[in-house]
Symmetry: C2
Subunit: 321 residues, 2 copies
């Protein structure tokens, strides 16, 4: 059983090739550029891990892993257009560097080429893989739509927000694992548990991400905290705070968001604490982690095969702060 790091290296060896033709240059060069920005390639490596949980890694798992990574990059390129984001991982976004029309079309063709990779796999699993890939792709689009809808809404219910996060980020992690499992010949029950493991880890990671932005130690966290608060971003914390706050606190929160005073971040953090949102978030994260581990335990393979997944989960959601 290989570690995330080893599999990551193996994946990059296969993935760092030329995926696109050279012409039309204005279509494919932006695609090369964006893949060149890099990223942690977590999702494709999870596909390999899901595969190795049940069998020796096969070529089809690499094809699907490549498809997943191209799909993920397609969503990033299009999301960046919608969010008008100038930077991604410290580099210019595709639409910023090459224009919106090109970014749109480059994303489109990247999605098509993702399906080219899917189409390389063995016929017997093709239907199942495409079914799960498509379901996930639809969900990711739906999550992005809910996210845009929520940005315009005055108030969002916690349950709605949880569903949005699940669709926008967790299902792809879950499906990456499951696609690997399908290709490894896993049965339906094992597939289901692995999917739920991935989904819960994804949720825990997202709760943690929101938590660290408000309560993390900037030195250990590696970036300035309070960014979400400064940008009035709807997060787990803000949404829960609005549910927990009394009328006075609600007014304070709305006022801070509208007037943007210099001490908005510490003031908001103080309200969060008064409402007990910090403690709540730690518990919520813990709940997701426990649920993830229960599902991992329930997978009917030898424990030793599960170790790399356990380490990955710990790495993702037990970051120091």
């Amino acid at each position: 059983m290989k570690s995330f790091e080893d599999l990551s290296e193996q994946f990059l060896e296969k993935f760092n090739i030329k995926h696109f033709p050279s012409q039309p240059e204005n279509l494919y060069r932006p695609a090369d550029y964006f893949l060149g920005i890099g990223g942690k390639r977590i999702r494709p490596v999870m596909c390999l891990m899901g595969n190795e949980l049940f069998d020796t890694i096969n070529d089809d798992a690499y094809h699907v892993a490549s498809a997943i990574e191209l799909f993920h990059n397609f969503t990033l390129i299009h999301d960046d257009i919608m969010d008008k984001a100038p930077l991604r991982r410290g580099r210019q976004t595709v639409h910023e560097k090459f224009g919106e029309s090109t970014a749109l079309l480059t994303g489109d063709v990247m999605l098509v080429i993702a399906y080219d990779y899917l189409n390389k796999i063995n016929t017997s699993y093709l239907h199942k893989i495409i079914h799960l890939f498509n379901k996930t792709a639809r969900e990711v689009c739906e999550g992005q739509q809910w996210d845009m809808d929520f940005e315009k809404k005055e108030s969002v219910l916690l349950n709605e927000y949880l569903k949005m996060i699940e669709l926008k980020t967790s299902v792809l992690l879950a499906a990456s694992l499951q696609m690997g499992a399908i290709l490894g010949g896993a049965g339906d029950g094992n597939q289901k548990h692995l999917y739920e493991f991935g989904k819960n880890i994804g949720m825990a990671f997202q709760v943690q991400d929101d938590y660290l932005d408000a309560f993390g130690d900037p030195e250990k966290f590696g970036k300035q905290t309070g960014g979400d608060i400064a940008a009035n971003k709807k997060t787990f914390l803000l949404i829960k705070a609005m549910e927990e706050a009394n009328d006075t606190q609600k007014k304070q929160i709305r006022n801070l968001m509208q007037t943007n005073p210099a001490d908005k971040v510490p003031q908001m953090i103080s309200i969060f604490k008064t409402c007990g949102v910090d403690e709540w978030a730690r518990e919520l994260k813990e709940k997701y982690i426990q649920s993830a581990y229960t599902h991992l335990d329930d997978i009917a393979v030898l424990s030793v095969r599960k170790e790399p997944l356990k380490y990955l989960a710990e790495f993702l959601v037990q970051r120091e702060y």
Copy 2:
């Protein structure tokens, strides 16, 4: 053997259903809206015709036909964003009515759902169908990119322009027929001839479209002529004229395009005629039609089975003017 009209009716019966879930409404309502605008559904019906050329129409052909129509609508939604087009078939475009971000995402999800339809077909043909579908989708994206590139270029070679038109419009017609043929169990040679038939008909149609805009009888053509000239659109005629014109005529053309005088359209038409571009376009169209018919003749099935395709071709490219 059924006519285009009969098959069109049969297709609409299957296609006029709800393709999308109801939530998130802001993602799927625009998709319903756009499909509701209608269209001639030529491509999916061509898929059915390609299927019936070799066998009784099967369910898989309907699935692929639906996928093709959804793909085509996805390209229209995204092209309209890139072209900043306010109207499509006399109705508001998706981005105009619902905003650019929604149009982008709605197009994306429509493409994914097109693959859902592909994934419904029998496993034995799935690889081949997805292979051709993807190749065509990539080519359509490439054609759109070349088109955008050319709009910014001072001069475009006729060969480059022909290639762009082929990619942007003809290959999808050709592939629609071929996908039907694949599902009908056609051999490689027959598939190839049918593809070439569709491609050549597509080219002839496009030449005719450009021709009619300049030389058509507005009453018979059904719309005002000269629109392409007024908009300085690069067409077969303009590109050929720039190749044929002497230095004085070239200067005149450039001058007309820059100054946009009130009599620009008749003046440009007069230059086109002096350069013999009208005669050339008629011959070019005829060349494509002849090539299409030769390929149709070479398909090894009884002539009577080919009749609906012949009628369709005649309908598409022998319009009175």
